[in-house]
């Protein structure tokens, strides 16, 4: 196999942190090279050096027969490198086709003037979209499509510029199983065409399925490269974390059914004004962790947003410890002891203009304030203590809590968001896709944290698209379909097959008919 790219002896220093120490990495034609490592190990940084976003402190990059000591984004693109970042970079205000050809719009001449050739653009967009399996009108605005579709746009964009190497930084973090399978089909086609793929993911099952070679980074240093065919998931965990992690977090002696335990949180007949959730009721008992499964758009997050007061309800009552509470805004929810780790950290989670400490302390401050959150002073001492505690508890990798949150790796940003909600010492905590982008070692710590919170008598609700996650932590799993709870499994009965069947039954029936 040809080597398309070779990075040699790459060192990257940021003020205060050496993110990469003497890393060598190569990409061959027709392979999927997996990059694996804990949060903050340096995976994204290495790829940003390849794409020219960062300049290496030391080292060389060989692309084909050209050698560079550093790349600009332009060099990188011209030499056939495309990177699909952890945080997608499509432009919401443009159509799909315009996104595909940003910066290189097909032009035609009308007399002396050059204008955009929309007919040509539309035609080529359709071809590219067919390749990645995106079934949309190319003229659709990107803001109207789902995250997975945006990702397909990004891949199509890489194809549009005829890249030889396509880097995907945690492409599957927000995808459902179905969508992941789809992405893998696309990746296999790209392999056949001789493209080199770099694939970053914290999901080991996927790595075994799609990867050819895997390289592991740890704390910015190179650990080793293996053929995927020769390793097991457990080997990968050991290479990456240096130990094995627990597989289950339910108590051995947990009751068969929680019916007899006191109810600490209850939702009755909840419907959303926009109809995305219809007449949902459930109870959460003391010591029980309740999970919600279902396809994306089945109404799980939509229900949580409505419970939390962020989106309007048309009907429904909420009870905490048997007392009805009035929640019409997140402020009231927080005051009543609710917390919600939202699904999308960039859009509804963090403040890019704040450092870690301000991002964490905002919630305790709101919770203890008066007058709609306005009255009160900020205590620098409290703020610092609170942030230091979460840094410890969540194991956030940073050199100071005064560091800006945007300087953290993706997974560490997520840990800050988790810390923010936990810091408010809430009674009922909703975790919506809590471990998105979080490495396997830290995941296990977050599961342990959830169990600890539950043991302390707090309510823990988990929404996740990762079935293994729900199976590992939840005592009860409710399955959503089209805005309703269709089936509920206790931990002992739940299997991946049953849950998938419950969440798709209707759809299968419809397609069959």
């Amino acid at each position: 196999m040809d080597t398309l790219v070779e990075m040699k002896g790459v060192v990257k220093k940021f003020p205060g942190v050496t993110a990469l120490k003497d890393i060598s990495f190569d990409i061959k034609a027709g392979e999927v090279h997996v990059l694996l490592g804990e949060n903050g190990a340096g995976k994204s940084t290495l790829m940003k050096i390849l794409s020219g976003v960062y300049q290496p402190t030391e080292g060389t990059i060989v692309i084909g027969d050209k050698e560079f000591s550093k790349l600009t984004p332009k060099d990188s693109a011209e030499n056939g490198i495309s990177v699909i970042y952890q945080e997608l970079s499509v432009i919401n205000e443009l159509s799909i086709q315009e996104n595909l050809f940003v910066g290189k719009l097909p032009m035609k001449k009308i007399g002396p003037v050059k204008v955009v050739d929309y007919a040509e653009m539309n035609k080529r967009a359709k071809e590219l979209m067919a390749k990645v399996g995106l079934k949309r009108d190319p003229k659709t605005l990107v803001e109207e499509i789902s995250i997975s579709e945006k990702q397909q746009v990004e891949i199509a964009k890489a194809l549009a510029s005829d890249s030889k190497v396509i880097v995907m930084d945690e492409p599957t973090a927000s995808l459902t199983n179905e969508e992941v399978n789809h992405l893998f089909a696309v990746i296999r086609n790209l392999k056949k065409e001789g493209k080199g793929i770099v694939f970053i993911s914290h999901k080991l099952g996927e790595i075994i399925e799609i990867g050819d070679r895997v390289s592991v980074l740890k704390d910015g240093a190179y650990v080793g490269t293996k053929l995927v065919s020769e390793v097991t998931q457990d080997d990968l965990v050991t290479m990456m974390v240096g130990r094995q992690v627990k597989k289950n977090y339910q108590h051995e002696n947990a009751p068969e059914s929680f019916e007899n335990e006191p109810v600490i949180f209850e939702v009755q007949n909840l419907s959303r004004r926009d109809g995305k959730v219809n007449d949902v009721s459930f109870k959460l008992h003391k010591g029980e962790i309740l999970g919600f499964s279902g396809l994306v758009g089945s109404g799980r997050s939509e229900m949580m947003n409505a419970i939390f007061g962020a989106e309007p309800r048309s009907n429904g009552k909420i009870f905490i410890d048997g007392k009805e509470v009035r929640i019409k805004s997140p402020y009231q929810a927080i005051k009543n002891g609710l917390a919600m780790v939202t699904e999308n950290r960039r859009e509804t989670g963090f403040f890019h203009n704040f450092d870690i400490k301000k991002n964490i302390s905002i919630l305790p401050f709101i919770k203890t304030s008066k007058g709609g959150g306005t009255v009160g002073l900020v205590s620098k001492k409290f703020e610092k203590e609170c942030a230091e505690k979460e840094k410890q508890d969540m194991n956030i990798k940073c050199y100071s809590v005064e560091q800006n949150i945007t300087e953290l790796s993706g997974g560490n940003q997520q840990k800050v968001i988790l810390g923010k909600w936990v810091a408010a010492d809430s009674q009922i905590i909703i975790f919506d896709e809590p471990t998105k982008g979080i490495d396997i070692g830290s995941k296990s710590e977050i599961y342990a944290l959830m169990r600890r919170l539950s043991d302390e008598g707090k309510g823990v609700l988990v929404v996740s698209s990762e079935l293994p996650e729900l199976l590992a932590v939840c005592d009860t799993i409710a399955v959503f379909r089209e805005g309703e709870i269709v089936e509920t499994f206790s931990h002992k009965d739940a299997t991946e097959e049953k849950i998938i069947k419950a969440s798709t039954a209707d759809i299968v029936r419809k397609e069959g008919a």
């Binding site: 903050g40 194991n395 342990a448």
Partner: protein, 336 residues
Amino acid sequence: MAKSKANQANPADGGLTLKKQKEKLTFNVIWQRYGTFGILVLLLGILAVAKPENFFSTATLTQILAQSSVNILIAMGEFFAILIAGIDLSVGSVVALVGMVTAKLMVAGVPPLLAVLLGILLGAFLGFLNGMLVNVTGLHPFIITLGTQAIMRGVTLIVSNSSAVYGFPASFTNFISKNVFGIFPIVAIIAIVVAVILSFLTRKTKVGRNIYALGGNKDSAWYSGINVNLHTLIVFIISGICSGIAGIVLLGRVGSAEPAAATGFETYAIAASIIGGTSFFGGKGKIFGVVMGGFIIGVINFGMNLLALPSTLQQVVMGALIIGSVALDRFVARKR
């Protein structure tokens, strides 16, 4: 979790060199910290060299301070509007309307102190209107305040019958024009007091923190329990109060209320905020920077008068300086 971590043979940040290094004093860092101040010193230096005979007198200092104060007051309100990624184009009109109404009240025999309080209250009310309109319509503050700018100017013309109002108590004008210790204008003290209060608000209070949060990410702010509408309202009320105070200060200094007063002052206010390091995208900036920015604009104005540039040319120079300083700032920021 902390405990289980500590027991491990391999703590997660063991290998990472996570020590806090002294930040290197590169040009960027120096610019970030002292850039605005540097511009100010540079400008004063140019003036001192060009007109040493006028420059080195206490009267000069007094005059620069007094002239800058109105601008600084307005700019501090504008700062809040920009902080939430909005803008307030109506500040000049608020200055004029508040000045006019306060003048009318005093001429009608209302005691100056009461008239001043009512004037400031009117400023707050006008800000409240801006904020309500933004919240209710959901339109960008640019559109709303572009409209209210015209409306408020129109109301000023109606109230005043399009003519200037003067002849109010000397006790008022004398007070405003007073200099403490003979050199320190009372208006500068007013501006400093407002600056200290607002600086406290931004740094130490929850409402201040919430406003920064809102400016950084509106959706995150909502999910974190921040009442977006309430804080938007507060921001515009602050802007209205600042412009109201500026209107009264201007009234006292000029000695008459002109219907066309403070026309175009929003340009200076926006420029002062941006030169002072406030981000147009929201969420970043400091009151101290805005004060510096306002002072720089004041020095430029003063300098151009001192050098006897024709007022037509002054406009051109001012505009160019605004673009130049902000462009320089962006250029440095990008190189980081």
